[in-house]
Amino acid sequence: MFKWLEKNLPKIVMAPAVGLIGWFVYGFVLWTLYISFTNSKILPKYELWGVGQYVKLWGSRKWLIAVDNLLIFTALFLIFCVVIGIILAIFLDQKIRAEGVLRTIYLYPMALSFIVTGTAWKWILNPTLGIQKMFIDWGFQNFTFDWLVNREMAIYTIVIAGVWQSAGFVMALFLAGLRSVEDEIVKAAKIDGANLFTVYWKILLPMMRPVFFTSFVILVHISIKSYDLIVALTQGGPGISTTMPALYMTQTAFHKSQVGLSAASAMMMFMAVAAVIIPYLYSELRRENAR
């Protein structure tokens, strides 16, 4: 009896958590999938209706704008976060003074919610309150910086705010990665005559492959799910020019009373996240098994 308990206790303890996750995560994913095949309007309905919602979704201008925006945002967010993160990490890696303070400063935005970031940047970028007004007040009468209210450029303001928030986090990942490299490797390279740039470019950064991979996965799924930043910064505007899939999904469900269509868009987002996460999990698990 005691032995049985000892053997099975971990399973018993974990069972409720597994059950809850099974129901509230996978159960509701399946429920959403089902609803996306129904013609649900204001409330969920359960008669199957076929793939009509998906046809409607991909015929909707607003959804196509949202997908375009997602591609622009994800690409720029990823590139800028990683590049800025690496540069900051390399600078901090030079055993400089007050590193702890600087590290905290760079990492601090991560502690804020996207709502706070969005609101602050909304004020900073507003042409009548923020940067533009400041420069005009300083005497640069012709200075314009109206990206936030310009429908062609507004999506880039979301990139700015997103990068400001997340670059510090990428820096922390890379800094941890760089610190875990044995000193001997760097010393050996230097004895062989490599300069600092070569050491980083040819030796250390290639060793950071797993860190690249981790930041890629984390940043991509943040960007696919990004909702609060847009709500705070532009509310999808000017017009509908900065709509993103997550915003489209909530608006469709709760403002447009199109629950079925909204479920279809949720499934598209789910598949996009899955396309990123599943290969990652697969490679991670395989490596663990190989060990």
Binding site: K41, I42, L43, P44, K56, G59, S60, R61, K62, K122, N126, P127, T128, L129, D146, L148, V149, R151, T234, Q235, G236, G237, P238, G239, I240, S241, Q251, F254, H255, K256, S257, Q258
Partner: protein
């Protein structure tokens, strides 16, 4: 000690179950300032009539959060007794089968709601496609097509209240030349649509408005008149300032109050901002209908009453419906809210000038066929169609889309969502 404990427990149990009488659970988002004060009047009335009120306030997002909570309750099979739902959405919930068997209809009949309300507004509150029994009660009428103008700014530039859109454009150009922002506007989709419907009713006329935005006729949406409406929207956009996109409506009202801007086009809830700043209508600011041919765009807040099998709650629904349509609540609530009573026989003596104008205009408009439902505020169309119209309007207003393209996009968007 032990006995006392038992007594206490027994008391605790009986006190929750012993109550018998009218009971109501109300889901609403009136939690701030005047709205909360007005609702308290209703709660006190309800308690004075021996009822028990279970409050279920859900704040956030101007009712968005409340709608999410409401849907969750309905899906779970336990709707609240009453909630804030308005316009065609009442019919949508009825079609889902969560409203029948219409508990409040006997009260509506015995109180004679048909004779107290304008027939058009009464129809909004009747289930089964606007002609069956009453299933919802109106609490107020908001007018949408208001222009709020700073009197000092208008006087300083020799401008009187415009009575046509051409006059309005001329006035705005004058203000622009004088270095004042003519048109205080918040560039959010619903605000763009609010201005659009006032322009559509004014430039197109009442019949055009009904054909296009109530009946959604394709030929009307693609017509020359729609192009003209979009042309006027483009002009108005030129009268806004750079900081307009994304601005909240009350910030825009603040610009008019402070004299930074000339006027705003917004529903009569804007009056609350003027009142709070200690401004008097006719002295410090003008409240005038936007130019139209005796038109009146209405937006009515209502409460819908869901089906319930609990007899106490059925009694509560009847009592609440009766009190909501009572003269006292209709008066007090609307004094706080800035709107006018839904029942037209309430004395307007205590109301201000703007509300009196609204009350007399609605009677004229009702008689002449100018009383039309606002689509931007969900009175003419359900949420799906409202959003379909709104998306195109806001896209046109915030881009360089041509008026012809916008009119066609409007028709296409409507057809896509039919």
């Amino acid at each position: 000690m032990k006995k006392m404990l038992i007594a206490l427990i027994a008391f605790a149990f009986t006190s929750t179950s012993s109550f018998a009488g009218p009971k109501i659970e109300v889901l609403h988002w009136w939690t701030s300032g005047g709205e909360a004060a007005a609702l308290k009047v209703l709660k006190d009335d309800f308690a004075a009539n021996g009822g028990e009120w279970l409050d279920m306030p859900v704040t956030g997002g101007g009712g968005d959060a409340a709608n999410v909570a409401l849907k969750a309750r309905i899906v779970a099979g336990d709707p609240p007794s009453a909630s804030q739902i308005k316009g065609p959405t009442i019919q949508e919930y009825d079609q889902e089968g969560v409203v029948a068997p219409y508990n409040i209809d006997p009260i509506a009949q015995s109180e004679g709601w048909d004779s107290l309300l304008d027939p058009m507004i009464a129809a909004v509150h009747k289930c089964q496609n606007n002609s069956g029994p009453y299933c919802a009660a109106p609490v107020n009428i908001h007018r949408i097509d208001w222009m709020w103008a700073n009197k000092a700014v208008f006087d300083a530039n020799g401008i009187s209240v415009p009575t046509s859109w051409d006059e309005l454009n001329a006035a705005a150009e004058k203000l622009q030349a004088a270095g004042v922002i003519p048109f205080a506007h918040g560039g959010q989709a619903w605000q763009d649509a609010t201005v659009f419907e006032a322009v559509a009713m004014g430039i197109g006329g009442n019949n055009y408005y009904k054909n296009c935005y109530v009946d959604l006729k394709e030929t009307c949406l693609r017509s020359e008149t729609t192009v003209k409406v979009f042309d006027q929207m483009r002009k108005l956009q030129g009268f806004t300032d750079e900081g307009s996109p994304g601005r909240d409506w009350n910030v825009a009202t603040g610009m008019v109050i402070e004299g930074k801007a000339g006027f705003q086009i917004m529903g009569d809830w804007a009056k609350g901002e003027f009142t709070a700043a200690g401004k008097v209508p006719g002295v410090d600011y003008y409240c005038a209908p936007t130019p139209s041919n005796n038109g009146y765009l209405y937006n009515v807040d209502s409460f819908i009453f869901y089906k319930t099998s609990d007899p106490d709650k059925q009694e509560g629904q009847k009592l609440l419906a009766k009190l909501m349509m009572g003269k006292n609540f209709q008066k007090v609530f609307n004094l706080y809210k800035g709107s006018i009573p839904a029942r037209l026989d309430v004395s307007m003596d205590e109301f201000d000038k703007c509300a009196k104008t609204s009350n007399s205009d609605i009677k004229t408009a009702g008689a002449s066929g100018g009383l039309v439902p606002s689509f931007a505020h969900g009175m003419a169309q359900g949420n799906t169609m409202k959003a379909a119209l709104q998306d195109v309007i806001t896209e046109h207003f915030n881009s360089d889309m041509s008026s012809v393209d916008a009119a066609n996009a409007l028709a296409d968007s409507v057809l896509d969502n039919m």
